[in-house]
């Protein structure tokens, strides 16, 4: 520990601290632009110059290490003169366009200019003008305003993991830009907007929408992935106009993904359903809630009376709130005796629910996960599934941890990693081989299941990496992702992973890509049998696009077409009304309802509605309450969303360790025969992950959204099918065909076709990780 005195205040700080950190600890603000606690120190803005006793020159607080007994003066004549001098230099070429700058009112330069700038300018030369850059559909640029702090440059390299922004040119001609002809395509790129201390980088969708002082700030929680990023929803005139991160060091730090930041655009899109609609005899009519709900109640009653409760199937999004899921289960499961209630998204192996001993979860807290010495990610394109979790793992790897990825397809991790890309139907056998080899290598006894597949070569890099860390007793975390969750062999893979984790004393858990999958598991009624194998007379959807959010769009579209009645609770208009009886009921999206999510570490995060419901939309829990009353089901007299939450969770803030349990109860693990039949890799594209994201205009314009509209195969697969890169191909699954452009992608395994789970016209396709055929479209 070192002693330091700042402006007369004495404190001790840990070795290696900087003056800036010490000042923050003692509550002294030192003006700065380039310094940011999560980024490397650049010391280039020079705004934080302070006086240090015995130093002849003012020193930058951000880059000056504390020495024992140091005395610092942040407001002395020398320090303030230096800061004022720097401010003058920053302002000479900065345009005086604050009145038309989106940053106005929340601009660090503007704020500090009040304190350190002069009334007049001594600069009588012509100001610099810098051409703007095209950074893509999310980030707007006004590069003349740039003060060259390089926060965005450092963010892209250090946090996002790819050098997408740099400072080209020299001296006064320096310009921050992306690579020539390329945009900024990171899945967390929007954070540079927050980082930019001036109005050089601003939000493109938010451009000219509002001034910062007109906005109300409401707390929110991300509805898009299992991390539960904390949000600030900024509203104006009853609309969410911007989303910013709310700092929570133990979850999202100070970042949010682009999905969290820009998905709000869908909330006011023309696709919003604003009044209840009924389709009777082919006629669509807008109607009142009273009439809509009583018609729906009648239809439900009638269907049960005629065909029994098993003739109804319910699909609710795992991004629904705890309260909604609780009421759905209580209403349809407990109240009406419906067994087919699916709240698990694209999961296709429901044994995962029935054979799990508890609620599957991350297996540790997010903060504990970051401390791992080795991460083994199995069956996950983590950057696309949970961008910030991938970012946190990247930071751990930069601090020295190892990363192993076993997956059928994976975006680059943008950090040091050992990757093994295998066919989806070989995920299980590969995991068994790796586990077998590692356990043998560290000299532990090998459980029988892990002996089902042979040993890998002794110098296999992944085996070596895991064995090395396991051998020295390092902390290992095995994470299963959506590719496992959605796999037909999910149960076996989970069992093997848990046995492997046990054998090498590793942590083992799941990184769900839905906001409330932990809640969905917790709230499922015991009688649930979510398989949709047989035709239902009535289908009820909640917060989902029935086909796009299904594990098998082909089967679901058959179901939808053959159903007699369709009831859709959704913020958005349904794609079509096809059943003889269709009801579309506008329920509130995440921004317009109170509720809570339970994230992957079991933490309950509650939030209130940020704005009033659009049109006649109503919070889902209220709609379900009224429907419960109409159906005369007892116990539906909640007065508030908190009442529902209390009924669902009691007063829990975090699920208990007895509830959270990743143990899998299965003995019989069998490994498939190896074969070379063409197989589909049906990952969920990042900007198709749920009904809200799908309707967010700007996200759909990004390059990441674009690359999901292709059928990708490696060169070996392409040549064996006599297809060239760029050819139009016909893909078929279950007898239905679909035309799409083929692209060569050598990161994929042999004889696998990456064809996204959700794609325009994808309704014809079936199993996400099932057999498929592809031929050239003549």
């Amino acid at each position: 520990m070192l002693e330091i005195e700042i402006d007369g205040k004495k404190l001790t700080v840990p070795d290696g601290s900087t003056v800036m950190e010490a000042a923050e600890a003692v509550g002294t603000y030192i003006p700065h632009f380039c310094y940011h606690k999560k980024l490397s120190v650049a010391a280039n803005c020079r705004m934080c110059l302070v006086q240090v006793e015995k130093a002849p020159k003012p020193l930058p607080a951000c880059a000056t290490p504390v020495t024992d007994g140091m005395r610092v003066f942040t407001k002395s004549d020398l320090a303030v003169k230096a800061q004022q001098g720097v401010m003058e230099f920053l302002l000479i070429n900065h345009p005086l366009d604050c009145p038309i700058c989106d940053q106005g009112g929340e601009c660090q330069l503007q704020d500090l200019a009040v304190g350190y700038g002069d009334v007049d300018s001594r600069f009588s030369e012509v100001k610099r003008v810098v051409p703007n850059k095209d950074l893509g559909p999310l980030i707007s640029t006004d590069m003349t305003r740039c003060i060259h702090c390089t926060r965005c440059v450092r963010f892209s390299e250090e946090i996002a993991g790819a050098q997408e922004i740099g400072m080209a040119g020299r001296g006064e001609h320096s310009e921050v830009m992306s690579f020539i002809g390329l945009t900024v395509d990171s899945e967390i790129s929007g954070n540079v907007i927050d980082l930019c201390p001036v109005g050089a980088l601003t939000s493109k969708p938010f451009r000219y929408q509002a001034r910062s002082w007109e906005l109300s700030r409401r707390k929110g929680v991300s509805p898009h992935d299992g991390l539960g990023s904390n949000l600030i929803l900024q509203t104006k005139g009853g609309r969410v106009v911007r989303v910013l991160p709310r700092e929570n060091e133990s979850i999202n730090e100070c970042w949010i993904s682009d999905r969290d930041r820009f998905s709000y655009e869908a909330l006011m899109s023309s696709e919003r359903l604003l009044t209840p609609e009924l389709t009777i005899g082919g006629q669509v009519v807008s109607t009142s809630w009273d009439s809509a709900l009583s018609k729906v109640a009648e239809e439900i009653k009638g269907t049960i009376e005629k065909f029994g409760a098993d003739s109804i199937g319910v699909v609710a999004s795992p991004n629904s709130t705890v309260e909604e899921l609780y009421l759905i289960n209580k209403l349809f499961g407990g109240g009406l005796g419906v067994r087919a209630i699916n709240t698990f998204g694209r999961m296709s192996d429901y044994r995962l629910v029935s054979e799990s001993e508890g609620v599957r979860w991350l297996g540790q807290s997010i903060s504990e996960l970051r401390q791992s010495d080795l991460f083994m990610i199995v069956g996950s394109d983590l950057r696309m599934e949970s961008p910030l979790l991938a970012q946190q793992i990247r930071q751990s790897v930069k601090r020295g941890a190892e990363l192993c990825v076993l997956s059928p397809s994976s975006s680059k991790q943008l950090c040091r990693s050992v990757e093994r890309i295998v066919r989806p139907d070989e995920l299980l056998s590969s995991l068994v081989s790796i586990a077998h080899s590692v356990v043998v290598k560290i000299g532990k006894s090998v459980p029988a299941v892990l002996q089902l597949a042979g040993l890998l070569a002794d110098d296999d890099p992944m085996v070596e990496a895991i064995a090395k860390v396991a051998g020295r007793g390092g902390r290992i975390s095995i994470l299963l992702g959506e590719q496992v969750e959605n796999s037909p062999q999910a149960l076996e893979i989970a069992k093997v992973a848990s046995l492997f984790a046990e054998a090498i004393s590793a942590e083992f858990g799941w990184s769900f890509a839905s906001a409330n999958k932990v809640g969905a598991q917790l709230l499922t009624v015991d009688s649930a049998d979510p398989t949709f194998s047989r035709q239902r007379k009535m289908l009820i959807g909640f917060g989902v696009d029935l086909c796009a959010d299904s594990p098998n769009a082909q089967l679901m579209s058959h179901q939808v077409r053959a159903a007699d009645a369709l009831v859709l609770f959704s913020p958005f208009k349904p794609l079509s009304h096809v059943a003889p009886f269709s009801a579309s009921l506008p329920v509130a999206p995440f921004s317009e309802t109170g509720g809570s999510y339970i994230n992957i570490e079991g933490v309950v995060q509650a939030f209130n509605g940020a704005v009033r419901c659009a049109g006649d939309a109503r919070p889902g829990w209220k709609v379900l309450r009224v429907l419960g009353n109409l159906l005369s089901i007892p116990g539906f007299d909640y007065q508030s969303v908190e009442d529902v939450r209390r009924a669902a969770l009691g007063d829990l803030e975090k699920l208990s360790s007895s509830t959270l349990n990743n143990s899998i109860d299965v003995e019989d693990v069998r490994i498939n025969e190896k074969h070379n039949a063409l197989i589909r890799v049906g990952d969920v594209p990042i900007y198709q992950s749920d009904a809200v994201v799908r309707r967010s205009h700007s996200l759909q314009e990004t390059k990441l959204a674009g690359c999901s509209r292709l059928a990708r195969m490696n060169s070996k697969t392409l040549s064996s099918l006599m297809i060239n890169h760029g050819d139009n191909v016909l893909v078929s699954q279950g007898g239905a065909e679909f035309s799409i452009v083929a692209e060569e992608d050598d990161t994929l395994p042999d004889f696998a076709v990456a064809l996204p789970a959700v794609i325009d016209g994808c309704g014809v396709l079936g199993e996400l990780y099932g057999p498929i055929s592809v031929k050239k479209n003549m």
Partner: protein, 427 residues
């Protein structure tokens, strides 16, 4: 043109011999004897450093930091790779001495670096050569190959068990890459921008490893010091200013060129050596240590001796030893305009005062030169100088300010004349 009166760096070099750079010629004039002396006599690392300390050799790149002291900063017991780097990125306007060393006597540098590597326990070195002297880069590569072929460089030098690899690397002409940490960044393949210090290269240098960086002339002086002894080197010059120094003399003299003379030679003598003023001109001013050194008027200059301490006392600095001689035909406003333009163009743009300030300085001087200045501009120049100097990441900010301060101190009248009469005093 290269001339020496007392040779250290160019000891015994026959400049008329086109092959004077070659290994056999170097060995004939006593080259690699110092290296053999160390290896055959098993002289300890500490003794080598002590000898360099005794010689009072100071860094010849411009800052004049005592070399022996710098070498002793290297953590010799550091486990892992350490690096030795030679700075031949000679970009200071007026300076052209290092170019001659690697062109005419490259083995002196190679031998000096091997000895330095031995003294500090370093096994890998790089020579970063300015991008605009590509032919000399090739010459240096050829010399390296000769040394490797003769077993003087590489694995197990002269059977001693000591190994030292030396590589040449050329830059692309950015002035800022002569700043040692920008040089390291550039050598690592990054954009050449200075790092903030601390940490210093001795603890966090090339690729984050302990690194010692010296100038070409500094390394090239080392073989003499080891061969002839530090004391002899010291005695060539003055106390605290040991040895000889290469001066690159340019401007209005009859015989511009490099002159290796003992430290402490009176400027008048040096001027005479360079053939005196060209065409009988009258000396007006001298920039004694490269473009970033403050200018000194003739009357002050004729009284100084050419060493660190004397020039520093006179209000300037010896710097890299680039002596720019100006006669009465020179307009000081125009001269400053050219100097300021250089720093404006060569600022790396990383930190605010330099990026914004150098351009501002240039534009004001340019305005004055064009007769569009105002009286307040001179105060503004001085004030801006104070806001730049000492507030930047590296010394380029100071380097840009010093010529302005020097000119305004000694030739303020000329600037006032430009402002008041909207024309030049000289022309």
């Amino acid at each position: 043109m290269t001339v020496y009166t007392k040779g250290v760096v160019f000891d015994g070099v026959d400049f008329d011999d086109p092959d004077c750079w070659k290994l056999d010629r170097y060995v004939k004039r006593g080259g690699y004897a110092a290296l053999r002396k160390i290896i055959e006599g098993s002289i300890s690392q500490d003794s080598v450093i002590a000898e360099v300390k005794l010689s009072a050799l100071r860094g010849r790149g411009g800052a004049g930091f005592p070399t022996g002291l710098k070498w002793s900063f290297m953590p010799r017991q550091f486990p892992g790779q350490k690096y030795l780097v030679c700075n031949t990125d000679e970009g200071e306007p007026g300076t052209f001495k290092d170019k001659d060393i690697i062109e005419l006597n490259p083995h002196a540098l190679i031998e000096g670096m091997i000895i330095a590597g031995y003294a500090m326990g370093i096994s890998v070195g790089y020579n970063y050569i300015h991008g605009e002297i590509f032919q000399d880069y090739r010459r240096f590569e050829a010399a390296l190959q000769e040394a490797r072929d003769a077993g003087l460089l590489g694995e197990n030098i002269l059977g001693s068990g000591f190994s030292f690899q030396l590589y040449a690397h050329h830059g692309y002409g950015a002035y800022i890459c002569g700043e040692e940490t920008a040089l390291l960044e550039s050598l690592e393949g990054k954009k050449g921008q200075p790092r903030f210090k601390p940490p210093f290269p001795a603890s966090f240098g090339l690729y984050g490893k302990p690194t010692t960086i010296n100038n070409t002339e500094t390394f090239a002086s080392v073989p003499f010091i080891i061969r002839e002894g530090g004391q002899k080197f010291l005695e060539l010059g003055k106390p605290n200013n040991g040895g000889t120094k290469l001066f690159s003399i340019s401007g209005h003299v009859s015989r511009p060129g490099n002159y290796e003379v003992p430290m402490g030679m009176p400027f008048a003598e040096l001027l005479a050596l360079a053939g005196g003023m060209r065409d009988g001109g009258k000396l007006k001013a001298v920039i004694p240590g490269g473009s970033s050194a403050p200018v000194l008027p003739a009357q002050i200059m004729m009284d100084v001796t050419m060493d660190y301490d004397s020039i520093s006392k006179a209000g300037s600095m010896l710097g890299s030893g680039a002596v720019i001689v100006m006669d009465e035909s020179v307009c000081m406003v125009k001269a400053l305009r050219r100097l300021s333009y250089f720093y404006y163009e060569e600022s790396c743009g990383q930190c605010t005062p330099c990026r914004e300030g150098t351009g501002w300085l240039y534009r004001i001087v340019d305005r004055i030169e064009r007769g569009e200045g105002s009286l307040g501009d001179l105060d503004l120049l001085e004030s801006l100088g104070k806001n730049i100097a000492g507030r930047t990441i590296c010394a380029l900010g100071d380097a840009a300010v010093m010529p302005v301060q020097g000119m305004l101190k000694h030739f303020r009248d000329e600037f006032l004349f430009h402002i008041e009469n909207k024309r030049c005093l000289v022309h």
